[in-house]
Amino acid sequence: MQIKHATSGEIAVLHLQGKIMGGPDATTLHEKLHELIESGTLSVVIDLRDVDWMNSSGLGILIGGLSALRKSGGDLRLSTVTEKIEEVLRITKLDRVFDIYASIEDAIASYE
């Protein structure tokens, strides 16, 4: 999995690429999210258009990041989820927990 970090004003946009299955990659994403919180960046968008699939380890990191950000007064919003990830979010009912947007632009605009 690869992570590209961009910013739009005070919003961090993380573009993920590959598969999120646990192992060393999952640690990298977990650390990245906590690095953002520690630096005071509390509005985060995760762009999932290039993520083929994720398992419960990936979901766990996203939900952990969401909880930590909301506790600090921020949020983590998802954009452009693929069909397979949408299915996993639906199975676990996390589609009711995350705010999910059709595009990065919509997700960024939702913070305004």
């Binding site: 299955m21 646990g22 640690t27 994720m54 398992n55 969401l66 909880s67």
Partner: protein, 136 residues
């Protein structure tokens, strides 16, 4: 056509990546569609992660066995760890309101949703997870 592939992994965090590579290779050899291939990879990485982290507790001298049994109509997958087993009935419902935002506990739910059959047999010698994915 019947094909059996078996591999043993050390209880290391990056073994799941190796298991995923093998799973993707097996799925391609078995001519699974892209969506079904992803289902298989998600399920196997769930089971292998659980075996490494919760079954074997990352103990270096314990192994995880992964076996694929491919036929014309289905793939049977077996994942066995060397841990102490666990109480399946005691696994908390990840969909209940008090658990929905917890970071873990969704693995079994995902396995049961994506696979056609799932059987979990814990014992004091380790846990055996057997799954069947029908070709479609």
């Amino acid at each position: 056509m019947k094909k059996v592939i078996e591999k043993r992994y050390r209880s290391r965090i990056n073994s799941v990546v190796k298991a995923e590579r093998l799973t993707d290779k097996v799925a391609r050899q078995c001519d699974l569609s892209e969506g079904t291939r992803a289902d298989l990879c998600i399920a196997v990485t769930e089971a292998v992660n659980n075996a490494i982290l919760h079954g074997n507790n990352l103990e270096a001298d314990k192994y995880v066995r992964l076996k694929f049994d491919c036929s014309d109509s289905s793939i049977r997958i077996v994942v066995i760890d060397e841990g102490d087993g666990f109480d399946v009935e005691a696994v908390a419902d990840p969909l209940s309101p008090e658990n929905i935002t917890k970071p873990n506990g969704r693995g079994l739910l995902i396995l049961e949703s994506l696979m056609d059959e799932v059987r979990v047999k814990p014992s004091s010698q380790g846990t055996r997870v057997e799954m069947v994915l029908k070709k479609r």
